[in-house]
Symmetry: C2
Subunit: 144 residues, 2 copies
DNA sequence: CAGTATCCCATCCGATACTG
DNA sequence: CAGTATCGGATGGGATACTG
């Protein structure tokens, strides 16, 4: 529909653009933590293990700019700031759940991660090679 | 089991590690495209718009190393190589669907993307500031 | 408490050119 | 067709130090 040949759901431009909003080392972990409820800055820093001040702040600012999280500053004497998912952010909770459950199952040894086989035989199942040779000569498709 | 207190689903380490497998500019778009069925190299390059030879190959190699996609090489005269999701890769199809549908809805103007308000008033709703001042003196929490 | 300010390095990615 | 080789530039993230 919509004029353009194959675009909306074919894994291209628009999707890529939207995906950029959650790309980055810490965005997903942060969003996932926030999905459980509002959290203060330092609490977040503790919960999302390994994140540094700089990284956390940068990620939060970007998520805020993209309308996924909301920042609420309470003018109290010991400064208090809470971060929470915005309505738009809550829209991707299903995705987060799916992703996290997948990540969890894979972390639990469901799959051997990053295990390169030393001598992986990959020259393959030779599916009806019978006609090979009858095809164009070896370089016919290489125009020049 | 595994000893550790609070870890599996709290948005930290394990999940972060697993997420790394799909992190990168092109991994998700590629996986999404592959979810629709096996595709040849150059076809993939056309479908995932904007990707370059180098980026595509690199992403594919990593996805392969992480066991998410399978590469099948057919020993024919014009070389033919097909990429497809592995069983493990198919395990994250639900996540892909959720993600893509979210990305799609947001691309369709559901949310104003990356729109910074010029003078956003963010010093906030002052929730019962009545006790401010009665709290510890301004710098009491700053130990030194 | 909740950040900023810098500096620096690693990685990612794009562009270009070449090959089995 | 399906890649590899190389290089340069942008970005993201880490470490450290300091502040309203």
């Amino acid at each position: 529909m919509e004029t353009e040949a194959g675009s909306l759901y074919d894994g291209s431009c628009e999707v890529v653009a939207a995906l950029d909003a959650i790309a980055g080392r810490w965005k997903l972990p942060i969003l996932w933590r926030l999905a459980a409820g509002p959290v203060r800055y330092n609490e977040l820093k503790r919960l999302v293990r390994g994140v540094t001040n700089t990284a956390l702040t940068r990620a939060l600012r970007e998520l805020e700019a993209d309308g996924l999280v909301e920042r609420t500053e309470y003018p109290e004497v010991p400064p208090r700031v809470e971060y929470a998912l915005s309505p738009a952010g809550r829209a991707l909770e299903p995705s987060l759940e799916a992703l996290v459950s997948w990540a969890g199952s894979r972390a639990r040894g469901g799959v051997e991660v990053r295990r390169l086989a030393p001598d992986d035989d990959r020259t393959a199942p030779a599916p009806s090679t019978s006609d090979a040779g009858s095809r164009r000569t070896a370089t016919s498709w290489r125009s020049r």
